[in-house]
């Protein structure tokens, strides 16, 4: 039910009604509303009940196991949020002078330093406001670097076919053409195809390691050497940083630029399109191009590094310095974990994934890369079930909801047919993983004996199987009175 449907003329929530008419001076008459806005007229209690009910219909990490591969849906410690909301931080105006912002700037400076340390990069800018903007900043820096050397014939970015869709999109946004290279059957990049693709036109390569198929790229140092020899740079997509945190560093692998999804790896609730943070880290040669403002420290005071101090910067990416709230949560999270805690994140994320993969394989499910050790996530393929029983990955996913589990990522990466990409994360206990195996086994048995139950799932949720095809073909987001 929509809140508009609860509306009755004249009903009010006085607690939220402004006392005075707002001042509307200086706004042209043509831009002013003639009648009242068609807002729902409900009481305060109705509004509270409506939105509380909606929130109860959600699947969330606070209520359910949420093994959504590639998304790192792990528990976000409440302390991170509480400390990021300290009044001194919350009330700081973004225009406040540096002299009045030393506490906040100290946190940002230390976060820059900790991220440098854990990734092995030479410098970090916290500015990008999300992963996509971090990617954009990263490739824009690659371009600025080549341009600054007059090396303008480099027009191509190489992207493996297993990459996240944002990688080729970013390359195109930055004015490059995309050259795709294949992935081998064991999940590694096809190095022979890479050699063929490299040349004087190569600006760089975009890689995720561990890759989207959930395995560690074993020939990464060879790849880095080949790309550098051809004059290109290496971009690291930080989507899967959780798997290697504190264990292996992208800087040591030979990457020139990376972005990190702090909202994923460093504790901000995510997945609802809410604020993110996609800081970028760079090797020595890209330092001059980092986006501003960054925080500097002279041993006594913290100060802003702007276009004035960094004349070759790719510039600002938003009005201020990124999403302060997400950065503060990340800072608290990193301080709580410490160096040894970060290693534990990677170890348990990997242990949980391998335990779950093994148990599912023992229960009869087919691993897409059975000869490879999983990293923080792994893929099972349900193509046999689809072929023999007519039960697809989507059917399994929907039926899992009935069992109280958020479904894994389905149909990504596109390389594996009828796939589930499963990422349990480090914060789940063994019981939760065992429960998931039990649910999958039960659905397998239903698929064999009572397939209709699976094909028509979900049965126990507020909505049944949604018609996502019709939703895409006939997009309808507008509420019409009387409709």
């Amino acid at each position: 039910m929509l809140i508009q449907e609860l509306s009755r003329p004249g009903r009010r929530a006085f607690a939220q009604a402004p006392k005075d008419r707002p001042l509307l001076e200086g706004i042209p008459a043509a831009l002013l509303r003639s009648g009242a806005a068609a807002l729902p007229e409900v009481s305060e209690m109705q509004a509270v009940r409506h939105y509380t009910r909606l929130s109860q219909k959600n699947f969330s990490i606070d209520t359910q196991f949420y093994p959504l591969g590639s998304c790192t849906m792990k528990y976000n410690p409440r302390a991170c949020n509480s400390l990021a909301m300290l009044p001194g931080l919350l009330a700081r105006h973004p225009h406040a002078p540096a002299t009045h912002s030393q506490g906040f700037m100290a946190c940002m400076y230390e976060l820059q330093e900790m991220l440098k340390d854990v990734t092995g990069m030479k410098s970090v800018s916290l500015v990008p406001a999300a992963g996509a903007q971090g990617e954009f900043a990263g490739v824009a820096m690659i371009r600025a670097y080549h341009d600054s050397r007059g090396d303008t014939a480099r027009r191509e970015i190489i992207v493996p076919d297993a990459a996240h869709g944002t990688n080729p999109a970013t390359a195109v946004m930055c004015g490059y053409t995309v050259r795709e290279i294949p992935t081998l059957d064991d999940g590694d990049v096809d190095v022979e195809a890479l050699k063929q693709a490299l040349g004087p036109q190569t600006a760089g390569i975009m890689l995720t390691n561990p890759s989207t198929v959930g395995v560690f790229e074993r020939r990464i140092t060879e790849i880095a050497r080949l790309v550098h020899e051809a004059g290109g740079l290496l971009y690291y997509d930080g989507a899967n940083l959780n798997a290697i945190l504190g264990k292996v560093r992208p800087g040591d692998m030979g990457f020139d630029v990376i972005h990190m999804n702090l909202h994923k790896t460093f504790s901000t609730p995510h997945g609802g399109g809410g604020p993110g943070a996609g800081p970028v880290g760079v090797s020595q040669r890209l330092i001059p191009f980092l986006p501003v403002p960054m925080v500097g420290f002279d041993g006594h005071d913290y100060f802003w590094l702007t276009e004035k101090e960094c004349p070759q910067t790719i510039g600002k990416l938003s009005a201020f310095a990124g999403n302060a709230g997400v950065l503060l949560r990340a800072y608290v999270y990193a301080r709580m974990l410490g160096r040894e805690g970060m290693v534990r994140v990677a170890e348990y994320a990997t242990l949980n994934a391998n335990y779950l993969a093994k148990r599912l394989a023992d229960a009869g499910f087919e691993l897409a890369y059975p000869r490879r050790r999983a990293t923080h996530e792994f893929i099972i393929t349900l193509k046999r079930q689809a072929k023999e029983l007519g039960i697809t990955a989507m059917d399994f996913a929907k039926r899992l909801l009935d069992h109280g589990y958020h479904a894994p990522t389905t149909y990504f990466p596109l390389l594996v047919p009828e796939c589930f990409l499963v990422e349990p994360t480090e914060t789940e206990a063994m019981d939760a993983l065992d429960g998931f195996v039990e649910a999958m086994t039960k659905i397998q048995s239903e698929a064999e004996n009572t397939p209709e139950v699976v094909k028509t799932a979900p049965h126990s949720l507020p909505v049944r199987r949604l018609d996502d095809v019709r939703a895409a073909r006939e997009l309808d987001l507008r509420w019409n009175q009387g409709s």
């Binding site: 869709g165 193509k383 072929k387 149909y411 596109l414 996502d468 095809v469 895409a472 073909r473």
Partner: protein, 132 residues
């Protein structure tokens, strides 16, 4: 899965089909096997009439709720017609991949390129091996 592969067409490894008429015009679409893998299509991006395509060039996009997939031109030539019906009814490809669901037509620059394409038997074999 029972995919009838018409014997009068030529095929690519990337699941496009080609039908050639007497005037050197080639009609191109994606195979029934391809639409089945993609699932219900929700959007088709068509090439522009008048554009020159090289053999193997990305020239259209088919998008389903599962995936977006490039369509590659099997032959070089100039686009002379596109199937406008698909803009409003992308499901036509799901319903009738080999007839009403055609995507575009080109005037062939080099008919010899047809020799490099697969016949129905080779394609049927290729699409079956693709499944495993």
């Amino acid at each position: 899965m029972s995919n009838d592969v018409p014997t009068d067409l030529r095929y690519t490894r990337s699941h496009e089909w080609v039908r050639v008429d007497d005037e050197g015009i080639a009609t191109i679409g994606i195979t029934d096997h391809a639409q089945e893998l993609l699932g219900d299509l929700v959007f088709v991006e068509l090439p522009e009439v008048g554009s020159e395509l090289g053999a193997g060039a990305e020239c259209a996009v088919v998008e389903s709720v599962k995936a977006a997939s490039d369509v590659f031109s099997p032959l070089s030539g100039e686009v002379v017609e596109v199937n406008e019906v698909l803009a409003d009814a992308p499901e036509t490809i799901n319903q009738d991949a080999y007839e009403d669901g055609w995507i575009f037509r080109i005037r062939m620059a080099d008919p010899d390129e047809l020799d490099a394409l697969m016949d129905a038997d080779s394609y049927a074999e290729h699409s079956e091996s693709d499944e495993d």
